[in-house]
């Protein structure tokens, strides 16, 4: 009898320990999952504190995961319905996850309001079949931005800041800045554009700027084997042939652009602004003077495509959806809060009103330089598998061309066929 009583008490204790909690002192607990990025988290923490101060009945629990672990956690937690109330997602992932996300309620924000509030590229990623599933926090602009090593420019006797009118001016500077040792190994890349994101971004932007498109008319397939794509690839190859960069020793796996730039091995490094915070954090002793600029377009307007950016979504399994959406709106769509987050995270704002603000200009002087191109940004489009197309198809084939192991014809045929096979 005693034994049975003890076992019952133990069970009661265990059950009470495992059971759901109403939060601390009856507060409504809202869990929020983000990937580990210290700058991003530093942006979230004061906003969460501010929301909790204004809503004492809400307790927001921020949990972060390493990037790879975050992907795995989402993939296992979502089918089990165990995910947090608020989920940080990258915009382009929405088309893969939308069946497991809650649509934004009209009373929170309509699609039309969202399109007026945010730039077209970032909000585009959160809309699938006309339904909005989240709100962006940043404009992930991989196109056109370059880190520039001022010290190397001055040592080479080149004009600084550069007065580039055309891309030919950029190539001329890059060739003058490139250095090679006695054994023929490139020691300084003049213009490192041969990492995965810059290759994909400049390839797609080049197609658009030359008047072409990589989507077919009804967006049911890709059209990569076109005169515009060929012209862009030929131009990229001509930069390598001119000696601006050696793609064998400067690419994604060897001398990745951020590491190589902040180690003084790159004069002009093609990369999004997100690299600035990462470079400063990882290479605090880098002594060269540097800045961030934007390249001129291939021709015409600086039309480009961008794959949305990080933002917040809400789980359909959340028991506190209205509170969750209120928090998401508070963090992402309030201009003051968004400004605070973008400054802390070092990201380009998703809202034009924020991007054009004086606070942003003062904290991130490279953002005003981007204002001229941001309105030209279009959303990449909902690809069946964006990562597969960008990193396993476009990047390797173009790098093969630049490295001399594949012809332009072979690469364009392969990209077109393989990218279209992702629709099957």
């Amino acid at each position: 009898m005693k034994k049975a009583l003890a076992i019952s008490m133990l069970l009661v204790l265990l059950l009470s320990a495992c059971g759901g909690s109403g939060g601390d002192g009856g507060k409504t607990v809202v869990r929020m999952w983000v990937h580990t990025n210290n700058a991003f988290i530093a942006g979230y923490e004061p906003l969460i504190a501010a929301y909790e101060a204004a809503h004492p009945e809400v307790d927001i629990q921020l949990e972060n995961f390493d990037y790879e672990l975050y992907l795995q956690t989402l993939q296992t937690a979502m089918p089990a319905g165990e995910e947090a109330d608020i989920l940080q997602l990258f915009g382009t992932w929405t088309s893969q996850y939308y069946e497991r996300l809650a649509p934004v309620p009209a009373e929170v924000m309509t699609v039309e309001q969202a399109q007026e509030t945010f730039y077209a590229a970032p909000i585009g990623g959160y809309i699938v079949d006309g339904v909005q599933y989240g709100m962006p926090q940043e404009f992930n602009c991989e196109y056109g931005g370059v880190l520039l090593n001022k010290t190397k420019f001055e040592a080479a006797g080149l004009t600084y800041p550069p007065q580039w009118q055309t891309l030919d001016d950029v190539v001329a500077d890059a060739v003058a800045l490139a250095q090679t040792d006695d054994a023929g190994m490139m020691t300084t890349a003049g213009f490192h554009f041969t990492s995965a994101d810059p290759i994909a971004a400049s390839f797609l932007a080049g197609i658009k700027q030359r008047g072409g498109d990589y989507w077919n008319a009804d967006r049911s397939g890709f059209t990569f084997n076109t005169p515009e794509a060929r012209a862009q690839l030929e131009w990229m190859l001509s930069m390598v042939q001119a000696g601006a960069v050696d793609p064998i020793s400067f690419n994604d796996s060897t001398n990745f652009v951020i590491d190589a730039f902040f180690q003084g091995k790159v004069a002009i490094g093609y990369i999004g602004t997100w690299a600035i915070a990462e470079g400063q954090a990882n290479f605090p002793d880098f002594a060269d003077e540097w800045d961030y600029f934007y390249l001129p377009p291939v021709e015409g307007d600086p039309v480009f495509v961008a794959d949305s950016g990080w933002g917040l979504t809400v789980s359909p399994n959340s028991e506190n959806q209205s509170i969750a959406w209120d928090i998401v709106k508070f963090i992402t769509a309030d201009p003051v809060n968004a400004t605070q987050w973008n400054i802390a995270s070092g990201t380009i704002p998703a809202m034009p009103a924020v991007a054009e603000s004086t606070e942003i200009a003062a904290a991130m002087p490279w953002v005003p330089k981007a204002l001229a191109i941001l309105p030209y940004g279009e959303y990449l489009g909902n690809m069946p598998d964006r990562d597969l197309v960008m990193y396993e198809i476009i990047y390797p084939h173009i790098l093969n061309v630049l490295q001399g192991v594949e012809t332009i014809d072979q690469a364009l045929e392969a990209i077109d066929a393989e990218a279209n096979s992702t629709f099957e």
Binding site: E68, L71, Q72, L74, Q75, T76, M78, P79, W93, Q96, Y97, E99, R100, D181, A183, G184, M185, T187, I248, S249, N251, D252, S253, T254, N255, K265, D385, D387, L388, E392, I393, P396, L399, N400, Q403, G404, V405, A417, E418, A419, S421, T422, E424
Partner: protein
């Protein structure tokens, strides 16, 4: 008398009961634990017949069906004759995995067995020291090993190219030059294999040392008395006697080579131009990067079949029917 017998049988019965409880107590948690493993395997087995992605809701039972449709053996047909990027990456990965595994095994044996034999010949004072030195890389994390070798392979600042330059040679971009190759295998693959061998060989060496120490001294003495040279004694006495150990080493080395992942992911991530893309890396990318879990499960099944086939073959070739 009867009472005593009853008492004795009761005591024996109590002991048997206690034993039974003990066995149940230790095996039940294990059985529960194993059943979780069986469930995971069963789930992977089921998934390979579906075009399953965790991002899609799918049907009402475990998300199978609906937007995660049943595809039967389509994944396997696609792997053999498909033109999709997944199929072509699978075939490249399979080829690279076979190259890696079948190159690593003989290279590993060629290093570890002679080294173990040599270490067996030296004095006890140095034996322990060398054994420790050779075993240290085994204890190092693969990521650490990968980072060390990456810095040595650095085209500009690595000391391997510094040596090449010192002797007047042309420096090589070891990890990212798709044009450079040796014996039909890319230089990047050789570079990764070298790093892997360095990390792994201490393990086999210690096993071989243990096997060599277990050979009775009388057999070696008898061979010497009969006039056998050292080479003859090694090939006719030592090698046959360590065959069971050889089997173990071959099976374990093959198993770990087929499952190589972390060192390649850190050093090249499959580059240049997929020349170091191996099956485990392809499975990982499909499962967790591209959310193509059905395809990844099918690839895992193929890897399982290959590993099982190679292991059975090795066991048949190297098995012995005797003990000493």
């Amino acid at each position: 008398m009867n009472v005593l017998r009853k008492k004795g049988s009761k005591a024996r019965g109590g002991l048997a009961l206690a034993k039974g409880r003990f066995v149940l107590g230790v095996t039940l948690p294990l059985l529960v634990y194993e059943s979780i493993g069986v469930f995971v395997l069963a789930w992977a087995f089921i998934l390979m017949f579906f075009d399953y992605s965790p991002g899609r809701v799918g049907g009402p039972i475990l998300g199978l069906g609906g937007s995660n449709p049943f595809v039967g053996i389509d994944h396997f047909i696609e792997m053999v004759k498909g033109t999709s990027v997944e199929a072509s990456l699978f075939r490249i990965s399979l080829k690279n995995t076979l190259i890696f595994a079948f190159a690593i095994l003989p290279l590993n044996l060629a290093i570890t067995l002679p080294l173990a034999y040599l270490l067996e010949q030296i004095g006890d004072r140095f034996k322990a020291m060398y054994r420790t030195i050779y075993f240290l890389p085994v204890l190092t994390s693969s990521v650490g090993v990968a980072l060390i070798w990456m810095s040595m392979y650095d085209p500009q600042a690595g000391w391997i190219n510094a040596i090449v330059r010192f002797f007047g040679g042309t420096p090589v971009t070891w990890l990212s030059d798709p044009r450079a190759g040796f014996l039909g295998i890319s230089v990047a693959m050789w570079a990764v294999m070298l790093a892997y061998l360095w990390q792994d060989y201490g393990y086999n060496m210690v096993i071989f040392i243990a096997a060599l120490q277990a050979i009775p001294q009388e057999l070696k003495d008898a061979a010497m008395i009969d006039g056998a040279s050292s080479w003859k004694a090694f090939t006719k006495i030592t090698l046959p006697l360590i065959r069971p150990t050889m089997l173990f080493v071959c099976v374990m080395t093959m198993l770990s080579s087929f499952q190589v992942f972390d060192i390649i992911q850190v050093m090249t991530n499959g580059d240049p131009g997929n020349r170091t893309q191996v099956l485990m890396l392809d499975i990982y990318k499909n499962a967790f990067r591209y959310q193509n879990l059905g395809w990844a499960a099918a690839e895992s099944f193929i890897l399982f079949l290959i590993v099982m086939g190679v292991t059975i073959f090795q066991m048949r070739v190297l098995r012995t029917d005797w003990e000493y």
